[in-house]
């Protein structure tokens, strides 16, 4: 009888797993299309392709694509770091403190989300012109703007995590002689890792994919991957773009896989 019951108990779990797999399938549906088109041989996008070829992948592995990819990667990395710092500080302030104007500050920290980035792009370009800071255009301006744009993500996710932290743990740490930053480093940060990671990952991908802010802040010669893609799009969606997307997706997955191998990444993040 327990065996029957074991099965009976396993059923809802299996059903649940199925639902989850269905959602994953939903996530991968369009990506599968992109993947298939990326190995098409023709000069324009075909689905399904009539002939297969890896020529577009070869076409990607040239300086014209790799250089913007490098710029984008550096940009995403550094701006995510800045956003993570600033956004987390904001999250700590609004979750951990009660003060006059807290709601207003919470609103401010989230407001970059509320403006289409094309508007922010134009606004920042205009601002830099007015204050004579046009020399910032290019990497510095991109960095400043991307970090601005991604602060809300970090603030949001870190707030979520922070709300779940038992404050007596921090008290315990301070009681054991940990100063504030030590408490932060050894107790609070490890406990909010999931939120920090989520925020930083969001910041990274948002920056990595950003078109509309970058459009106004790039400088000739220093362009990002999405801008390079956009320039390409002036004459339609070419199969090479599918290859670009699949490769950058693969690159990130490889990075995660390596981090997993080397550092036990998910365990580090989400515990057992």
């Amino acid at each position: 009888m327990p065996v029957q019951r074991m099965i009976k108990r396993a059923l809802p779990r299996a059903a649940f797993t199925l639902v989850v797999m269905a959602i994953y399938a939903f996530m991968f549906l369009p990506i599968a299309v992109v993947l298939v088109t990326s190995v098409g041989a023709s000069r324009y996008l075909e689905f399904p392709p009539r002939a297969l070829s890896l020529r577009w992948y070869q076409a990607v592995l040239v300086k014209d694509w790799i250089e913007p990819a490098r710029v984008s990667f550096n940009l995403a990395l550094v701006s995510a770091a800045i956003a993570t710092l600033l956004g987390s500080a904001g999250a700590f302030a609004i979750v951990r403190h009660r003060f006059l104007g807290r709601d207003a500050i919470a609103a401010l920290l989230h407001s970059p989300l509320a403006i289409p980035s094309i508007v922010a792009g134009v606004a920042i370009l205009q601002f830099f012109t007015v204050v004579g800071a046009k020399w910032l255009l290019g990497f510095p301006a991109l960095l400043l703007a991307h970090a601005m744009e991604t602060i809300p993500f970090v603030t949001r996710t870190v707030s979520v995590s922070l709300l779940g932290v038992d404050r007596t743990l921090e008290q315990a740490a301070m009681n054991l002689g940990a100063r504030r930053w030590q408490t932060l480093r050894h107790v609070t940060l490890p406990l909010i890792k999931p939120g920090l990671f989520a925020g930083a990952a969001f910041a990274f991908v948002i920056s990595f994919n950003n078109v509309n802010l970058s459009l106004f802040l790039v400088r000739p010669g220093v362009i990002t991957l999405p801008i390079r893609i956009m320039n390409f799009l002036e004459f339609g969606v070419a199969p090479v773009l599918a290859a670009v997307n699949i490769l950058s997706l693969a690159a990130v997955l490889v990075v995660v896989a390596v981090a997993e191998r080397v550092g036990g990444f998910t365990k580090f993040l989400y515990g057992q």
């Binding site: 324009y44 012109t129 106004f216 000739p220 390409f232 002036e234 969606v237």
Partner: protein
């Protein structure tokens, strides 16, 4: 070494412009060109406007409407004949259309692009866009794209109106919407529907249409019997440009006879220079002669600029469900 920053076409066209114009210019002069393919003409204009005329380029390719407003707002330099001597070889009608700040480096028109497999015989009239037989096979440009304005013009002309009397045209837009597969803003986003075989008919620039035809798509393009409207692309120099003299020299170079002939063929477009000689298979399909030019309606770009916002609102109210 002098440096010149040029903002123009992106994608596969980057190679074409580099080979056709930029390298010859660099080689004949001691000049290094920094090429920036970023941004469509509209984005470029927004950049010029946001930077009060100092976007960082010396030369930028835009279309006549942007060139005109830029000129009105004093964001662009005037390109008189003493600055760009080759200007005097450009057809006057065209120069007038582009205004004092734009040097016309190419001439295009709105063609009717169609799928050669599914649309037989080839269309002869713009009315095919309203034909119920092709319901759900038509791509209509959205008002953000100047193609939509041209289409509105054509609808007006066909129904007894003109550029300044659009009411007969407006009356046709709702029907156009109902016949359309999709209404698309960006020119680049329209072609994939052809590639996937979903759409068969589209008002499109002759240059781009020719490009896709050459790329192997089963399409062709033509000017229907009612005629069509021409588009003027211009070279411009923002007021904040660092190397204005060199910029004028560059524009002059591009407007030279040799370059105009080469460029028209490379980009599959027409030219507004009077003395160019092009092979017939090219000149038949693109506007290269005064005769062809006469058949084109050259729009009042100034008027378009003034009315665009009002039209956009009216258009949207019809299109958006």
């Amino acid at each position: 070494v002098r440096e010149l920053v040029v903002n123009a076409y992106g994608g596969e066209y980057e190679e074409i412009i580099k080979a056709t114009i930029l390298r010859p210019f660099e080689q004949t002069r001691n000049v290094r060109i920094v090429y920036d393919p970023t941004g469509s003409a509209s984005a470029d204009f927004a950049k010029i406007r946001a930077t009060r005329g100092d976007p960082g380029w010396d030369v930028v390719v835009m279309t006549a409407p942007e060139s005109l407003i830029g000129c009105q707002l004093a964001l662009l330099e005037r390109l008189s004949e003493d600055r760009v001597p080759n200007q005097k070889f450009i057809y006057h009608e065209v120069r007038n259309g582009a205004g004092p700040c734009g040097a016309v480096q190419e001439l295009q028109y709105m063609s009717l692009m169609y799928n050669t497999r599914n649309v037989t015989p080839p269309p002869t009239s713009w009315r095919i866009l309203w034909d119920a037989k092709y319901k759900g096979r038509i791509i209509v440009p959205d008002i953000g794209n100047i193609l939509a304005v041209y289409l509105l013009f054509m609808a007006a002309y066909m129904n007894g109106g003109d550029q300044h009397n659009l009411e007969p045209g407006w009356a046709q837009i709702a029907a156009l919407r109902d016949n359309a597969l999709a209404v698309i803003e960006s020119s680049a986003d329209m072609v994939p529907y052809f590639e996937r075989g979903q759409a068969w008919l589209l008002p499109y620039w002759d240059g781009r249409a020719h490009y896709y035809k050459n790329r192997g798509l089963p399409v062709d393009f033509l000017i229907p019997k009612e005629g069509t409207v021409g588009l003027v692309n211009t070279l411009n120099v923002p007021v904040g440009a660092k190397n204005k003299e060199l910029a004028y020299e560059f524009i002059n170079f591009w407007l030279s006879k040799e370059m105009q002939e080469k460029w028209a063929q490379a980009y599959t477009v027409g030219t507004a220079r009077v003395d160019t000689v092009l092979p017939p298979e090219h000149s038949q399909r693109h506007v290269t002669s005064i005769r062809q030019l006469k058949t084109l309606k050259i729009p009042d770009f100034l008027y378009i600029g003034q009315k665009r916002s009002e039209w956009a609102e009216r258009w949207k109210k019809i299109m958006v469900r």
